[in-house]
Symmetry: C2
Subunit: 399 residues, 2 copies
């Protein structure tokens, strides 16, 4: 019998309890031992829920209980999660977490503590919810130089962009709907500004490079400036606009960014719509591979957390190596990153803009008084410099 404690009985926490209950037999068989939830930490009480008898309000009950071998942290946020997780690891309890803020900020340190203690710190659910991506990167794609990871890693923004694409609605309108449907938080900034995706691509890049990528260093651009006019041009170009979280190696540099991109129908991420997530990985030997599924949601996320619990139960006293040191990974300067851009300009600026950006293609989406152009490939720095000479209505990178 392996006894575990769950920190936080919110959406994911109650999902973890539900997954463990629903698939109890199978999970025990996979883990090689029965898994039992002994304590659930939450500030609240749940008098009408059988969980109530396991609810504790004081973390020290869990920390000081020698029977607890695995702690599931699904509270979210850096504090007090960081302190709780660190104490758990230091007292010899393995940890499984879905908390991307925690992993992005303190992952390397927590892994090193787990290693010292010969236990484990697992975080499959922190990126891509139910999509298996963390463990496949660590134990499947190990023969390859990974030269690109491009992901649709945020369900909220993908839902919003999909609705804007297919319903022709405006950003604010779709966001409001998404909030009503529970697909977007009441405070949606972390999603729509790309910070959530930024943390996730920082985690994936850290795992692939073996070194710390701080998400504050990830160039991040959200979707708040994307308009229904942009969508009309995208449609005209037979493209779709996606918020991509991307890590790409080029000329010995790793460029990490989150930004909206125009992508065409042959792009592997083109048909990933709604709240779905997908991660495209390119290896120098493997070529293209893609992982696809539910990026969020109570049960898919809980399923990933429980698969970490199974793995932790299989390796109660041996550390599964995770290459992610605290040494900082130097990133390529985004100013040097080369893209083509789609830009919209007023009709009277068309000629000047074409000359400036070396555009050969004019796109007319039927919006009076303006046109779209596609620039030649240039660095971000070159583009920013040229863009000073003409007034742009919008600009989106092209992949």
């Amino acid at each position: 019998m392996v006894k575990i404690a769950v920190l936080g009985y919110g959406t994911v926490g109650s999902g973890v309890v539900e997954v463990l209950k629903t698939n109890q037999k199978l999970i025990s068989a996979n883990a090689g031992d029965e898994i039992e939830v002994k304590h659930v930490l939450d500030l609240r009480d749940f008098p009408d829920d059988p969980i109530q008898e396991k609810i504790v309000h004081d973390y020290s009950v869990i920390l000081n209980d020698p029977e607890i071998q695995i702690v599931v942290e699904v509270m979210g946020g850096v504090n007090p999660a960081y302190s709780f997780v660190k104490q758990a690891l230091l007292s010899g309890k393995s940890v499984a977490t879905s908390n991307k803020e925690l992993v992005a900020k303190h992952g390397a340190e927590l892994i090193s503590i787990a290693k010292q203690q010969q236990i484990n710190f697992f975080f499959e659910a922190s990126v891509g919810g139910g999509i298996p991506i963390i463990r496949p990167l660590q134990c499947c794609l190990t023969a390859d130089e990974i030269d690109e990871i491009s992901g649709i890693l945020n369900g909220t923004t993908n839902y919003v962009l999909s609705e804007m694409t297919f319903q022709g609605s405006d950003f604010e309108e779709v966001l409001r709907e998404a909030q009503e449907l529970g697909y977007a938080e009441r405070n949606p900034q972390a999603d729509v500004e790309g910070f959530d995706a930024g943390r996730k691509i920082a985690i994936l890049t850290s795992l692939v490079s073996g070194r710390q990528v701080d998400f504050e260093d990830v160039y991040t651009e959200g979707i708040t400036k994307i308009s229904s006019a942009d969508m009309k041009y995208a449609k005209k170009l037979n493209c779709i606009i996606k918020l991509l979280a991307r890590s790409r190696r080029k000329d010995g540099q790793t460029y990490v960014m989150v930004a909206p991109f125009l992508i065409g129908p042959k792009h592997p991420l083109y048909s990933v719509n709604g709240v779905l997530n997908a991660v495209y990985v390119h290896g120098n030997m493997l070529g293209d591979t893609m992982f696809f599924g539910s990026g969020a949601g109570k049960l898919p996320t809980a399923s990933a957390v429980v698969s970490d619990v199974v793995e932790a139960a299989r390796h109660l006293h041996d550390h599964v190596e995770v290459k992610w040191s605290q040494e900082k990974m130097p990133l390529g300067k985004i100013a040097d990153y080369v893209s083509r851009f789609f830009v919209r300009v007023k009709e009277e600026d068309q000629e000047a803009a074409c000359a400036l950006f070396g555009s050969e293609k004019i796109v007319d989406a039927g919006i009076a008084g303006e046109v779209g152009l596609i620039t030649r490939a240039m660095t971000e720095e070159q583009f920013a410099h040229l863009a000073e000479s003409v007034s742009l209505l919008s600009r989106i990178r092209i992949d």
Copy 2:
């Protein structure tokens, strides 16, 4: 230093040597030790290849070399691969193989020997080439009752069907082209009759159920009867024809089959074209997930084999549990499996066929003298019985 031997210097074997050489530093870092190819077994000599100095013609050199800790078997076919692999395991050497015939037939036994010896028998490359699917099933999707696996698991047939779809060509013509391009074998029977996909879905079902599924028990139908006329109807229905290898749990039974299916644009496998492979998995908690990539090819397959070598090097003296016993898994009878069918009948049989199959929808693809119908949902047995009363030009299941 971990010394390995490669059995077979064909396409995959030379790929393994190439992957190990190209990514040597990274692979050693991932494995935690340097990996060196010491011997390569092949009947041939390769005088112009630096590999020549490692070539041995006699397997006993490898078997009796105590320095060899991992054997890579990439010869294909059951014999002598089975005997070589079994001897390797019995003498304490871990094995990584890409050989689906071997794994489908003897996987359970070879895993049990590896377990006794506290070493490993790994076979990631045997299904889906470079797509990570075996290990994710074993160490990621462990919290779920897997109720469906549907895969496009054979690149040759997917290429042929894609060309038939998009070029409107006939089966024989596309197959000939595919043979010229090296996408199809000179003897294509194992591919086009669905046997290759059948072995792969048998392996996946064995892993998910933990029991032996014999591929001879998998209901298998190939693509040789699919015509350009069928493709015209598929297009009219806004569908595409795919050879699916499928394992589905329903009412406590597991039905395993390989057959062409008509699938619509919302189907997760709809846009998997050409030589690509994909595996769709549905878990009772996780919902939909999909793995996608190169199902074959020298370097993608070799990359998967080398990732197994890395994993074997990480676990030289401990067995990574694989749930796959030799106990036979009882399968649901295909006669009881319920589908809707698309059928083509001569124009004069239209009325009788509509009444017989309860069809409400008539499809006219502009082919003189015939029409297409979609039947109501019925078991294979019911369909076979009804089909005796009318002459069918073709029939394809609908997913």
